[in-house]
């Protein structure tokens, strides 16, 4: 198989398979969660929970007072990694083109040199987070296979993307194919690991926030 054939394969059948697993996986997992339902609140509430839930979704992006000081590293590195990853994913012109082809919507991107920076930022933040995970007493203790697998499948698209973008690997179709393959891997793994938090954090924050709001507390 030539690198061109390989590219065709990952772009074609492999991509379709990964997309199918991604979409059905997510739907299945969300259904698993939502089908459990919430107990009814019988206490006389101080406020309605619905809007409080949405406020918490937004508020939790900013750490509560005093929290930043105690958990500074994880907050900073976490933010940098998420920013680097999301900017590279959603604001790189070739990616936007792909979204346009598949979803039919598009938006303006950032100049390539900036994407270069965001990718490197994401890569370095992820390396720092990994070192922290391997050395911090709590994280070392908590972490298992799922944590390292999730790290790996998130890290690979950043690195392969950077390699392809900088033409560090020849021939180019091979580099591109590896990048796409790494994304497919991410798509397949996401629904079945903690990476699902990308979606379920909305349910988590909303339920916590609405329950608190009913008691007159903003969390």
């Amino acid at each position: 198989m030539t690198s061109a054939d390989f590219l065709l394969m990952v772009r074609g059948p492999a991509f379709h398979l990964a997309t199918a697993i991604f979409i059905f996986g997510i739907l299945w997992r969300i259904l698993e969660i939502l089908s459990l339902g919430q107990p009814r609140e019988h206490a006389a509430v101080r406020a309605l929970g619905i809007s409080g839930g949405f406020r918490t979704i937004v508020r939790r992006f900013v750490p509560a007072p005093g929290v930043f000081k105690r958990s500074m590293f994880i907050i900073l590195a976490g933010y940098l990694f998420h920013a680097g990853f999301l900017i590279s994913l959603f604001l790189f012109d070739p990616h936007i083109l792909l979204f346009k082809e598949t979803l039919g919507i598009s938006w303006p991107g950032l100049p390539a040199p900036l994407i270069n920076v965001s990718t490197l930022l994401g890569i370095f933040a992820m390396i720092a987070l990994l070192i922290n995970r391997l050395t911090h007493p709590v994280l070392k203790f908590l972490s298992g296979l799922e944590d390292y697998l999730s790290w790996t499948v998130t890290f690979l698209p950043l690195v392969t993307g950077y390699i392809a973008f900088q033409h560090l690997l020849q021939p180019y179709p091979l580099a591109l194919a590896l990048h796409i393959l790494s994304i497919e891997l991410l798509m397949i793994v996401l629904p079945f690991t903690k990476l699902m938090h990308t979606l379920t954090f909305l349910i988590a924050r909303w339920t916590t926030g609405s329950r608190a709001a009913q008691r007159g507390i903003e969390v």
């Binding site: 939790r60 903690k194 339920t207 969390v219």
Partner: protein, 422 residues
């Protein structure tokens, strides 16, 4: 309690899992931030006290019961199913090293309400027979005698007589159609009769009618602390029955924090219907009376530099945050706030039934270092709070660290500043 077995524990855990819990367990990214928020971790450095780790059994049950992959993993032998030994091991994490203070729930970046899950995990451990002896004892006494400390009505009556004598006021018992039914914790009855005195004086001063019920004087609920909803329901029903029988409009939850959680928030859910009366914390009542201009003070101010310790269940979990501050301003000149206060306050170290767990005694003293450093930083001369349990625990802690600091309940402090009556 019916006989405790692993199967009962397992199904209790299974029953607890709802959409929010599933989303929490699914979302956790193992960032470790909840550890930084928990005094049991910050003061010991033991990673096993990380809040999310304390939920191990609940997570296992969720995986093997409610996720396809988890079910397959167990079937194919990739992961070990939950065992009774796991539950026994987790007693130390779910009870001994967790005061259900809820501080962890404030910091989780994905929004996990961790203490909500701790409360539910206790249901499983209790049903499997792995609750601590101290809590089992308290719960048994609460069911059989009517109070976790074994306080019977004659003892309450003796205190009532004593308070009547010291105040010259009559303490109403079992009177129907009054404004308020006043509840107390056994700890307040036995160790802090000042609370009852304060209520008597304040009620007279504001012109409200009230009563104590001989059938339901105890406000705390050991069933909640141990995690046995059936018992918790029975205990709360006593209050509901008494309040409905006496036809009171409002039940006053005493200063005690967990009592407020039990009667105000969990109570209606335990009996499965809304209450026909209102439940308010004493500080809410006092602040409302202040707002209406009924609660007046004599104008003298406390000179001492003082601060307020927010009981977790009243503030962070109960939503009574501004009221104590409004009230303090009426009577204190030098009120200062701790660096982390209100919703972010640190627990005294003895909530959630931990004060009744003997094995936790040493750990409790260790984690009191958190409160100590908060107080040391402020250089205050006096500590005000609104929970008899916090008060006892902090007194113990201060003794252990040789700190000299008078402590007072806010209700009691206000009662000392009432205008002279003629």
């Amino acid at each position: 309690m019916s006989t405790a077995t692993f199967e009962r524990g397992y199904s209790a855990l299974k029953e607890q899992i709802d959409t929010s819990i599933a989303s929490y367990l699914q979302s956790c990214v193992h960032c470790g931030m909840c550890a930084d928020a928990c005094l049991f971790y910050t003061e010991t450095g033991n990673p096993k006290y990380t809040p999310i780790y304390k939920l191990g059994p609940l997570k296992k049950v969720w995986e093997q019961e409610y996720t396809l992959l988890g079910r397959l993993k167990v079937k194919w032998g990739w992961s070990k199913p939950l065992t009774d030994a796991d539950l026994a091991e987790w007693k130390e994490y779910v009870y001994d090293s967790c005061t259900m203070c809820g501080r962890c729930s404030m910091v989780c970046p994905v929004g996990n309400d961790l203490v909500y899950m701790i409360r539910k995990t206790r249901e499983g451990l209790a049903a499997a027979g792995h609750a601590p002896e101290g809590l089992i004892g308290a719960t048994t006494r609460a069911v059989k005698i009517g109070s976790p400390m074994g306080v019977k009505w004659p003892a309450v009556l003796a205190q009532i007589k004593h308070v009547e004598k010291s105040t010259g006021l009559q303490i109403p018992v079992d009177q129907a159609n009054v404004d308020y039914l006043v509840l107390m914790s056994s700890m307040e009855v036995m160790n802090f009769p000042e609370y009852m005195e304060a209520i008597a004086k304040i009620m007279k001063s504001v012109g409200k009618t009230w009563t104590i019920s001989s059938e339901a004087f105890e406000a705390t609920n050991s069933g909640i602390q141990i995690g046995a909803s059936d018992i918790a329901k029975e205990i709360v029903s006593r209050i509901v029955n008494a309040a409905e029988k006496l036809q009171v409009k409002t039940v006053i939850s005493p200063e005690c924090g967990h009592a407020y959680m039990a009667i105000r928030w969990e109570g209606p859910n335990l009996i499965g219907r809304p209450f026909k009366f209102k439940v308010q914390h004493i500080l809410e009542i006092l602040d409302d009376l202040r707002d209406q201009g009924k609660l007046k003070v004599d104008g003298t101010l406390e000179e001492a530099r003082l601060t307020f310790h927010d009981p977790c269940q009243i503030a962070r979990r109960g939503g009574v945050l501004q009221q104590p501050r409004n009230l303090l301003k009426m009577v204190a000149k030098n009120f200062v706030e701790m660096e982390d206060h209100g919703q972010m306050n640190w627990c005294c170290g003895g909530g959630g039934g931990v004060s009744a767990i003997e094995e936790s005694h040493e750990l409790r003293t260790t984690v009191f270092k958190r409160k100590k450093s908060q107080l040391d930083a402020l250089k205050v001369e006096k500590l005000v709070t609104a929970c008899a349990n916090c008060r006892i625990i902090m007194e113990e802690g201060m003794e252990a660290y040789q700190m000299e600091m008078p402590m007072v309940g806010l209700t009691e402090m206000l009662a000392e500043h009432l205008p002279e009556t003629t």
